[in-house]
Assembly symmetry: D2
Homo-oligomer: 366 residues x 4
């Protein structure tokens, strides 16, 4: 498959550019009989939506999704689900300034070289706008995972520049503009973002996602391990430069006697593995973190070249997030949902005869 | 595809267990006319081979690969290449002790739950022994990349437990048992490993891989980005818990003005991106790092359960690497080669009409 | 991939039901730089469109396709192309009669059993309406094949019930309502169809497609042979029950000395193979035929069961083609174009280094 | 995937040339817990094996398959199954005569053009020898289908040249060298084949396969219909030029009132559809036929060209089947088994929640 499809049994194929007519996608392989409505999708779309706070881009998009097919009388039919979001705020502004120039840190240069031409309006296909459809599709997967398996997926901000946030209270995540789970850090984040905006600069972030209620057995050795497919999904989100499962890079300095999670009759005694052993889910919580680079579109002047290789200066005066990492939270949740859903169907397809549905031990010791 | 295949146009499908008759694989999609011999593959296999030093498992495997098909009169024919390595040192030892017990940190528990049964001998399919075939297949990809595109891929140890190693001299990597690129750290590594062995413990590691001479344009937006596929490949290596491209998790605290790599008529002025922009190769060096957990098979006693969920103690008395990270170096190189090869063929297939073969700017400013 | 995607490098993913809001699709992997417009697609859509003559269903659909993405300033960008056709004539008629009954010869029964529920309005996803998107996507492939490779694809009616038509004059195919290439059979076809309509019955048909100007070398042994993929494509068209390449079922009684096409310095002396040898295109014309069953929706009363397995009678009073085979002509052309396009990109990806672009002999002896 | 893989969830990847060291393959996605042994595979391999009668090639191959992995203590483990058959009778004969010449009707010309070189020994990868691995893999699928679902697959010869055979008695199929199901035609076939051998010529054949006990619901609309995937599988067998499902090309002259199979409370009243409606299995017997061309390797002299395009004469003096169609019987069974197995797993993966396991009506009216 060309690169705009994701998944093997539960698949998402997307299309659409930042400033085109619409963005959309096709979800294929969704089990029939799932109760789903536009509202189920809209909740997450609104969480990702630009223009909702002063910390995100000022671009205003209604991001109203339409379900064009695959749902009949409120239930999925098992056939492909067409999704569409019209672009309403694609201002017909003057692009002549960026038409022939490569914005540093963006895909302008690589798209031009790869394809010999590019849709330069707002980044075209390389814009994070495309992720809205991932969020819509992810909402379908989330609904199935929750309704049929009891799986819940929650993302949150772990760090923004120098400010670290502990997952103290996940219930506040959707009530603050940072998806921050630490009530004590809200003021600090607010102050930091204000300063950043004054500087005209941007900053990186770390985002975490946790999935609970996971069945044992998801993941296909040896290449399509659950964690490998999660890494693929997360590194495929715009601006992501690092992915960790469980203890991630901390394992470099851990000893074996310290790292391995003991099994006890009451459950695993720790979860350093992040819920994956040998590429297969252990039933423990899936824990994933990702590092997102600062957006490259800032008002601080930058050095670049034009399409002919001549030196040029660039200043981005537009509507951009000072920290793209924030809005990545619902996107990361969506991608994790897509991976889990795909692996659930694959696992059920191959192993329904003999897979143990009752785990030998509970997931987690209390 | 089920989980034992990797790649879309240039694919590898593997089979085989740790203590079965043989391990093997099929490389499909290799361009015809590539000069290749068993010796080309054996070089990397010998680098990965167990039993080569006191720092790795004492299991002795000749790891002699056979090319069963797809090569005729010294050249690839364009048809599928069959690879086979016989298992020569699968001692018929007594497995009754581990048959009904789950080793903590291993895939024993998850395989048993997923499949309802498992080949318990030496980890069966979950054993890292399987990676020998990845290394053999990767050597074919490496050969093509070098001969036809001038790409070179070099891996090395970046950190082992607390000991960090800088890439001071890549020429020494294959001459020391740690794949260490820092001549000043060899003694420290040696001392650290001796102590570790005495303790009967193991430790994690960080491994890096760098690919040079990369063509601009590899990678398929939006899901099969080059970095996303690299993350998939690396997280799919046994024991890997984290993957970084370019500056990786350091981007969390970077500002946009600091992170973005400027373009100049003489080349990019830095390479924080790790050679990938918008999921597509920029022509700069590809830089990847991975975190490997300490092996869980150690002689320090551990707590676990048996197949019925009853409490049990485990002590591994066998032949195991105190640091699996070390031998991951040639595996990581092989996986990067497979990803690059696949994306090269995909890119050429879609874009041969118009892709720019001459980059607008050189890869890297000197 | 779930079942709504077609192709490996040049892919089409479709969605939409007969009486839903819209049907649509995503073309992925199209080479950049191809000049394409809505008009290029509309030509073939109009050929397939219902309501164009008294011989096809009276349903009136404008079938106006929109290109939502992937084309910029008149050229493909190499990114995914979103296609959309709104359903305008989905009459809100009373479906209570067919809601709980299975129409014989239709997918009603199998969809209900497979998915546990179904969109019963006009056949839902199983309706041939979905093929409009295949035609639109096929038009993109056709354009590339013609502009870049000189390949032309022409379909025509070979037989309708008892009336056989020889390919005497392909130039008349688009000028008569039967896609008939034999000017001497037009009156006979007209008379036959009038009688059929009076009877309230339907009839089967044989359709042929010929592609000229084919490069040598398309097709991937051993499973993805060009002819195997063509068979997949053609048998996947609604109502098709048989597929032939070259001499097809006539080979059963042929002798080897008769069947094999001789090679001469001036070209192949015959084309019994239909342009494929060992699964790879020989450069000769690709020749394919398909058998289409009579539509099952007829006004002749039929015997069936309802959703509870009770006996029931069915009479279809609707807008249906008395011979679905006729409108299959542009669909078969489109599917052949999709297969050829996919294989062209795959072949170029793998074999661009060494594939012979100059055939040893001309395609066809004159 | 490159072309040497088949299937999506239950996959087969093969390698090997006619006169190489060995042929082999990897079966991936097989459910765990299936009891399987080498003997189960050998039965079908022996049916396909050359040298078993005077009607097939005199090449003698033991065709002894080894299972290298994926089976433990007599049961499949759910991991990939490695299969290997060594080539024992690859005589080191003189190939200089055919090295630079293209045999008409063979893949010599197309392979040379596609890949720029070829393994000319016995056809290399294009040889039907490769199908032995399909038969071995198909035996695994057959075993699962029979043991777990009660599906049985039986192939037989329907026609050989002018001699038609009715499926009067399937129990005799494996007891005569023609796989003929009609006891009254055995003498006629014998006489015909003797004459053919004297002439040094070959002839085409028609082979049929019937699968009984099929669950309702297999097949994925719209592209991966069960019949479309069957067509792909069958047309991918060497020498096949046509595929029919159900009534096949006879539907061209059928009327709708005649073709559609009525549903009654006691079952379908006929099976013209061949067990597939709308691309999904109806529970009725799957009926497939294929047309196989006469082998092109005959002792009747033929006209061809050499590698430089110069005129040449060719006479094949070797060990070849006068009717390749005969030995295609077990191959066709194997391919049907692979398709059914793949679709069973896909169907179970997506639809296990709601698919009806109890059909509304019995499969077939008696």
């Amino acid at each position: 498959m060309a690169g705009n499809s994701f998944g093997k049994l539960f698949t998402l194929t997307t299309f659409g550019e930042s400033h085109g007519i619409a963005i959309g996608g096709v979800v294929d392989g969704c089990p029939p009989g799932l109760e789903i409505s536009v509202e189920d999708l809209q909740v997450d779309l609104d969480r990702r939506k630009p223009g909702t706070s002063r910390y995100t881009t000022a671009r205003r998009e209604a991001d109203e999704v339409k379900i064009l097919s695959g749902v009949f009388e409120g239930k999925t039919t098992g056939t492909s689900i067409g999704l569409l979001i019209e672009n309403t705020d694609q201002r017909s502004k003057d692009y002549s300034k960026i038409k022939d120039i490569f914005r540093p840190g963006h895909a302008d240069y690589t798209y031009q070289q790869k394809y010999g031409l590019r849709d330069y309006r707002g980044g075209g296909r390389s814009s994070a706008r495309e992720t809205a459809i991932r969020v819509a599709a992810g909402a379908i997967a989330k609904k199935y995972l929750k309704d049929h398996l009891g799986v819940e997926i929650r993302g949150f901000l772990s760090q923004l520049g120098p400010v670290k946030a502990e997952p103290k209270d996940l219930s506040i995540v959707n009530d603050n503009p940072f998806f921050c789970p630490d009530p004590d850090k809200l003021d600090e984040l607010d102050a930091y973002m204000r300063d950043l905006k004054k500087e005209g600069d941007s900053v990186g972030a770390k985002v975490s996602v946790v999935a609970t209620g996971i069945p044992v057995g998801l993941g296909e050795p040896v290449f399509d391990r659950l964690d490998a497919d999660i890494a693929h999904a997360m590194m495929g989100i715009n601006a992501v430069k690092g992915v960790e499962v469980g203890d991630g890079f901390d394992v470099v300095t851990q000893k074996g006697s310290e790292h391995r999670d003991s099994l006890t009759p009451e459950g695993f005694s720790s979860n350093r593995s992040g819920g994956v052993l040998g590429g297969i889910s252990s039933g423990q919580d899936i824990k994933v973190s990702l590092a997102l680079k600062p957006t490259s579109s800032i008002s601080v002047p930058g050095e670049t070249v034009d399409i002919d290789g001549n030196s040029a200066e660039i200043v981005t005066k537009g509507r951009h997030d000072p920290c793209v990492g924030i809005r990545a939270v619902p996107i990361a949740e969506a991608m994790l949902a897509l991976v889990l859903m795909d692996h659930f169907l694959r696992h059920r397809g191959q192993n329904a005869d003999v897979a143990s549905t009752t785990p030998v031990i509970p997931a987690q010791k209390n």
